[in-house]
Subunit: 660 residues, 2 copies
């Protein structure tokens, strides 16, 4: 029990490290006036969006908090608000770092690749370290205050974090793709001007989107899984003893130390930056495994130690394997992407059909990976083992978020380099950094989805324990009906998100066309476009379109629970997990493959830019945009939120179900 003190300490260390990196970052050179001007526009747009998003969400969070207060308890309501604020703060901090690191990276790229890489990576690490530090500090503090009896309060904290993450991910995802599609379809396709061209009115909105969608959104997504799986393990550990309750927090703490050490080893030294990022991840895993072994040995854990260690590691290894195999389906030099590119020669429909198919096929390896982790960890230590394997997988989330946030920073840096005319050499370096971000993304995505699967299974188990379900028999009609409705929920809600992007992008396209038509001299570069108006359209649309899916993600499980009872709700969660994972993997990977098929052609293959194949591939890429950056990653958070809703409201559902 005394060992638990390392949890908040590691959280504080992590936050301090992030603050140190931040203070280091802002001291550095930002480059030319033009660069600063562009970076300021991006920063202002990002802040404006986040401010408006948080204002909108504050209303929602408060309503929900009042409901929780009335229906459950004051403490749960406060914990819920705390969780939401924590996630909002972390994504704000991460974005604050990213919108500063982008221009500094661009400026450093005028020197060398090594320097630029360092800025971008440590820029991302600010988010990774601060967010994981805050999460662990908050959970362990809550535990110190309320003890094992207060786990439902910590559950409220997790619910708050996830609800905010869902909105951040969905809203950010709609924003970023609205801007991206709007900029591309009019700029690149209709007018033939390059990507990131300053004449394009949607170009700033596009860069803002990278920050609000990929930095703030993805960070929130990962951290909500992290919190949820730690809490679920703690609940499941309750029947096993105090050591098992605090173990997830301790694993979290050593995960932070492993991530901190790992970040020191991320160095390029003229080597491929993609390899540097991956090496960092692998090394972190390695350090984590050693520390976990020592920790579990020290705790003893009633002779279960070695089994629990294996369960922890099985999650970690599954995460890496999922990442690597998933990578195959989205890599620019592997068969699937090459075949999608090849299919583009016979037109857009063939490109779509083949990308769609490879996306569906890509779900096989990760599902086998998740299943292996489930079977191993369950058979070693029961359902607690599954949750511990999720904790193992997510323990290195600090490193994972750092690597992930690197992506949008270098993407932005590339945009700034192009818009401020830094010359071919600098753009080339930025391009190289950007490509590395895409490679690393595959592994982090594998982690995120695999972790979501195991996390939601843990919450599912925690739910069953809380509502006292001994057996969730699939041969009963209520469980089966729940399973059907649960399986329907993720695709249905994805559809709403994609439709949101499609509708909002249509508005953006009209606006960009209008500006080119009505602003004289814009095409010739003599007049400036109205960037702010595009940012405004993306913002308003994103906030409008996220309301319905956000509401339904809470209404669905409550409706099933209160109408059909706790068994149906259990079936619902089971259905939503499997269908959610299938759709999340399919959409993320199909989108990634389409993106790279287009890049492959743009690299001069199959006729290169402007060829028939290229036009087809651009259509595929556009279809894939909301798949991979809006709906796909939102599903992770969606299924987490739905299972947390079920778990938080479990005591009421048991009492007041209509037909249950």
């Amino acid at each position: 029990m005394q060992a638990l003190i390392i949890a908040p300490i590691s959280g504080i260390i992590s936050i301090l490290a992030a603050l140190y990196l931040f203070s280091n970052l802002v001291k550095q050179e930002k480059g030319t006036e033009k660069m600063i001007e562009i970076a300021d526009a991006i920063r202002e747009g990002s802040n404006a969006y986040l401010k408006r998003q948080n204002q909108t969400l504050a209303v929602f969070v408060l309503i929900m908090a009042v409901l929780l207060w009335i229906l459950l308890s004051f403490q749960v309501a406060v914990a819920y608000v705390l969780g939401a604020v924590c996630t909002a703060l972390a994504s704000f901090l991460g974005m604050a770092a990213a919108v500063r690191a982008n221009v500094i990276t661009a400026n450093a790229a005028r020197g060398s690749l090594d320097d630029a890489f360092k800025v971008a990576f440590y820029g991302g690490a600010i988010m990774g370290l601060s967010i994981v530090g805050m999460a662990l500090l908050a959970i362990s503090t809550l535990y110190f205050i309320f003890g094992p009896e207060g786990l439902d309060i910590i559950l409220g904290f997790s619910f708050g974090a996830s609800a905010l993450a869902l909105f951040a991910k969905a809203g950010g995802g709609i924003f970023t793709k609205t801007a991206d599609i709007g900029a591309d379809l009019v700029g690149k396709v209709e007018l033939g001007i390059p990507e990131d061209d300053p004449r394009n009115p949607a170009v700033i909105a596009d860069n803002v989107g990278d920050n609000v969608g990929d930095v703030a959104g993805t960070g929130a997504d990962l951290i909500d899984s992290y919190i949820a799986c730690v809490v679920a393990s703690m609940i499941l550990g309750r029947t096993l003893g105090i050591d098992f309750i605090i173990l997830p927090l301790l694993i979290g703490a050593i995960g932070i130390f492993a991530s901190l050490i790992g970040t020191f080893f991320v160095r390029t030294k003229n080597q491929d930056p993609g390899a540097a990022l991956n090496n960092g991840t692998y090394l972190t895993c390695f350090f984590f495994a050693i520390l976990a072994f020592l920790l579990i040995n020290y705790l003893g854990l009633e002779d279960q130690g070695f089994k629990i260690f294996l369960a922890t590691i099985s999650g970690l290894i599954a995460g890496v394997i999922i990442g690597i195999t998933t990578d195959y389906f989205t890599s620019i030099d592997k068969a699937p992407v090459l075949k999608i590119a090849e299919a583009s020669k016979t037109g857009a429909a063939m490109n779509i059909l083949s990308g769609f198919s490879y996306g569906l096929m890509s779900i096989l390896p990760p599902i086998i990976g998740v299943c292996a982790a489930i079977l191993i960890s369950f058979n070693l230590v029961g359902v607690y083992g599954v949750s511990i394997s999720a904790v193992g997988m997510l323990s290195i989330v600090g490193m994972i978020i750092s690597t992930d946030a690197y992506g949008p920073i270098v993407d932005n840096a590339k945009g700034i380099a192009e818009q401020s005319g830094l010359g071919e050499e600098v753009v080339k370096i930025a391009d190289k950094l950007d490509a590395a971000g895409n490679t690393a993304k595959a592994i982090t995505k594998g982690f995120a989805i695999g972790a979501a699967a195991l996390t939601v299974l843990s919450i599912f188990a925690a739910y069953s324990e809380l509502v006292d379900i001994k057996s969730l028999n699939l041969m009963k009609s209520d469980v089966m009906v729940g399973l059907f409705i649960g399986a329907m929920a993720p695709p249905f809600l994805s559809a709403l998100l994609i439709l949101g992007v499609q509708k909002n992008a249509a508005r953006m396209i009209e606006e960009v066309r209008r500006q080119f038509r009505e602003i004289p001299g814009l095409m010739e570069g003599k007049a400036k476009p109205d960037y702010a108006r595009c940012v405004d359209i993306a913002t308003k649309g994103a906030l409008k379109e996220l309301v319905l899916p956000g509401f339904l993600s809470i209404a669905f499980p409550l409706a099933v629970g209160f109408l059909l009872g706790k068994y149906a709700l259990g079936g619902f969660l089971g259905g939503s997990i499997v269908s959610g994972i299938v759709f999340a993997l399919f959409m993320s990977n199909a989108g990634g493959a389409w993106d790279n098929a287009k890049k492959y052609i743009e690299d001069g293959n199959l006729g290169g830019k402007g060829s028939k194949a290229h036009i087809a591939a651009v259509i595929g890429d556009t279809v894939g945009d909301p798949f991979k950056d809006t709906a796909g990653p939102t599903i992770n958070t969606l299924i987490t939120v739905m299972s947390l809703v079920a778990t938080v409201f479990a005591p009421l559902i048991v009492k007041y179900s209509l037909f249950g």
Copy 2:
């Protein structure tokens, strides 16, 4: 028990009625020499494909039969072969009628719409009546021979029927879309010649495809569900008593009578042919309900009578409701299709994204319908009730198949009318008949998917009973892992099918382009294209591409069962049912919506033919083709086959599972 004699008798009456209609059909006028020439080409192509398909499948069926003989028993092996032969024969007969009715319909359309409609509908009814008659005759004969102890033999029969149906549906589906896409992309899009233009080398293959895919394939798909749900109900009825075992057969018999009466009432008399078809279906439902009430009253069924009647009717009503609500998402005058058409104005990507989204949203009403039928029938009579509601839904399958086969017949008739230059007036009538086919399709599709869901649930229940699973607890790791793998199977196998179409269509496109390039005078209409070569490409490709998905659909459940045991296999079936229904509905409806969005634009809206919106909508339609006519409908059969594999091999899986 004596009442059972009406089952084979009704089967024989149904077959005799079909033969009578056939003899009536072939007596009628076929029209001009040109028409006969085209019809002959279509017939020869269709026969050639079916012959080659059946030759290929014969090998597979024999290997499987030997395996079943060695592993299970000689009787099961024979029943398996019988089931396969029965389905092959029925789809052969249906196609034989369809490839004759098409030209006669075209010729009758030179007279009046009423006459042409009658030919087409009764042409379709030949298939509907013969197939359902044969199925019921075979099952009841097997039951007379082997009695209640021989239900595993009847299960073998069902497995044979489903295995053949899967290959027929998958192979036919790949064939038809290979030809359709090949003909459209080169003919309509690249060269701008009209649909069904005789200069297009793939036009005969396209017409052949309608027959081998939509007639033979869909008929096989529906009949395999019918047989499977009857058998599953009989197995589930075993614990309840002899009356409950024979009830499904008796319901089948009165379904035949209701269908026979219903077909008499299908008349146009200057009214809308679509309404005539739907009225026929509704009337059949009505007659069925009355007969079912009388039958169940007569049997008594230990005071369960009224409850069982309600369960039967709940399935029927769910089928109709599913059809009607699904119709909303694919109708040319409803919001989803109009919005997809609207989105086409901003390009192909937007058309795809919006069709994709509405397709995903369309799964909600049918799933609610299926869930309602499950809850009602389960709570009335337990798991037997669910299977009886499936039997209720499928009882009128004779009428459903008749209505469904009408579609490709009038589609072909339209093609023949256009290719042989029968003039605008005749083509207009054919067009009207064709549009009615599309409307009716929505309802039959609703039936097919809803019925598949309930059928597979019944087999699932029968499986659980056979392997003696008392509870399939979703909180056990093996059940959950099974659920994951099961949920992955339908999308994975759909991907293989879509990829098959895409690859084969690419070959077809090359060939059509080659013929236009190398045959001098083809474009000017002075030379004849090489139709046979296109038919050959479609045939070879279809047979090649169906091997892997066909094999995996049997290998997946066996691998899960023999590796992970009977509980994991139970979870697998549960996962495959829910994910299968989600994907089947999504793909069928998205495809239908894209098709009608294109038609809406072609009707002169949003710029009409040749406009930017039209080009985008054609891409969407092409993407939708394999969704709605290959992968979507194959999933129905796929999940039936997988659950039958599990059930047939159940005794072995219980004995020889590795980790189970």
